[in-house]
């Protein structure tokens, strides 16, 4: 299925936006690890910013980056959010509360749900169209991308797609080693626009569930679902790269081909 990429946002340690990610992908400059600055989304009212989790702020900040690069309004977009584990910090705190005095804070409970980022985002942006939250473990990037593309084509709407991974504290990180925060945002449209960055053909092909990591990507990122999306971004950044296979299951890849 053919889909148009309107804009991209990237946030990761050492990659503060799409320009810096693009330069690393095409090897104009080497990847340099650097701690990520505190993420403070401008669109989130200060009360909401205080109440929200790091995962929420990460997801909204990367969405803001993408939105800055398109005249399309967030109110006119449907939304798809995906993540391996939406908010590991909150999950950890809930587990601590349950193991201790069993007094779970209502704010934490409300921040723990997988669609908390989409909820905060839709309030911040006054975005009232359909929002989906996708979780498919380490295959979340491909699953969310497929859902976003399908929705754009079926409903003939631009769709904001955000895939984000927020670090998990110990001991959860032993089983799900998300160590660094990473996030990718895309706006997909069903038809070309003057701003379209790329045209993608999306297909489903047999695969083995393995990811071909770019050699510059830190090994610490390999548990992050969204980092698998870097291969798709390479088809936009790098004229020499046309096809990216994004693992979707142990048997299938979502294959993105730049037209």
């Amino acid at each position: 299925m053919r889909i148009f990429v309107e804009t991209v946002g990237v946030l990761a340690p050492g990659l503060q936006d799409w320009e810096s990610a693009r330069a690393v992908i095409v090897r104009e400059r080497p990847y340099v690890a650097a701690p990520m600055a505190a993420v403070a989304p401008a669109s989130l009212p200060s009360t909401e910013r205080r109440r929200s989790s790091p995962a929420v702020r990460l997801a909204i900040a990367v969405a803001e980056q993408a939105l800055q690069r398109t005249p399309l309004s967030p109110q006119d977009m449907a939304m798809v959010f995906s993540s391996f584990e939406a908010s590991g910090v909150i999950t950890h705190q809930l587990c601590e509360a349950l193991a201790g005095n069993r007094e779970v804070s209502p704010t934490q409970f409300h921040n723990s749900v997988h669609n908390a980022p989409s909820g905060y985002y839709s309030i911040a942006m006054n975005a009232k169209l359909a929002a989906s939250s996708v979780c498919r473990g380490k295959w979340s990037f491909a699953a969310g991308l497929l859902n976003a593309a399908v929705q754009a084509l079926a409903d003939k709407l631009p769709v904001l797609y955000v895939c984000y991974d927020s670090p998990l504290p110990a001991p959860l990180c032993d089983v799900m080693p998300v160590i660094e925060a990473t996030a990718i945002a895309l706006v997909l449209t069903p038809a070309p626009s003057p701003k379209s960055l790329a045209v993608w053909d999306i297909a489903l092909n047999p695969g083995d569930g393995e990811t071909a990591w770019p050699d510059w990507a830190p090994a610490a990122w390999h548990a992050n679902a969204c980092v698998r999306g870097l291969a798709a971004l390479a088809t936009i950044a790098d004229p020499a790269c046309r096809v990216a296979a994004l693992p979707f299951s142990p048997e299938l890849n979502v294959v993105v081909s730049r037209c």
């Binding site: 299925m1 053919r2 079926a154 489903l204 695969g207 296979a245 299938l252």
Partner: protein, 152 residues
């Protein structure tokens, strides 16, 4: 109108997994099929002797696969998968308790060489009580294409 044999010739499913009975109507935009296999004691989708309403998604997906074959009669038989689903609503729990025929309608929302996005509805059809909605939603059928393999 296509019968069970004609349906089986157009989808990769075989034997009892070929769930639909007849194609009542089809055109470029969609397809309407009936099924009686929901009453079968050897239905391959039974769970603990019951056919859960979600099995209706597979019925509807097979209707969409037949539709894909009918609108592209020259294409070779292709394997496809149900790649994405949205807005699935069930109005009952099980299908095997429904005595009459089931009717599955799939309507094409977006057509593509890689597959198609369909909305679907399943109804119970009863001569006296009329049609009763059982299940509705939207899914994406994608054909597998080995050309790219693992990609780059």
């Amino acid at each position: 109108m296509l019968d069970r044999t004609a349906i089986a010739a157009r989808i990769p499913h075989a034997g009892r997994m070929c769930l639909l009975d007849r194609v009542l109507h089809w055109d470029e935009r969609g397809i309407r099929c009936t099924a009686v296999s929901h009453r079968d004691k050897d239905n391959p989708l039974l769970e603990a002797g019951r056919l859960p309403v979600w099995a209706g998604i597979e019925y509807a997906a097979q209707a969409a696969a037949v539709h894909g074959a009918l609108v592209r009669p020259q294409a070779t038989l292709r394997n496809g998968v149900l790649a994405a689903m949205r807005n699935v609503n069930a109005c009952c729990e099980r299908l095997d308790s429904i005595e009459g025929e089931l009717m599955f309608e799939a309507t094409l929302l977006h057509s593509d060489p890689a597959g198609g996005i369909y909305s679907f509805e399943a109804h119970a059809v009863d001569a006296l009580a009329g049609r009763k909605l059982l299940l509705s939603g939207q899914f994406t059928l994608m054909y597998l294409d080995a050309r790219h393999g693992k990609g780059k």
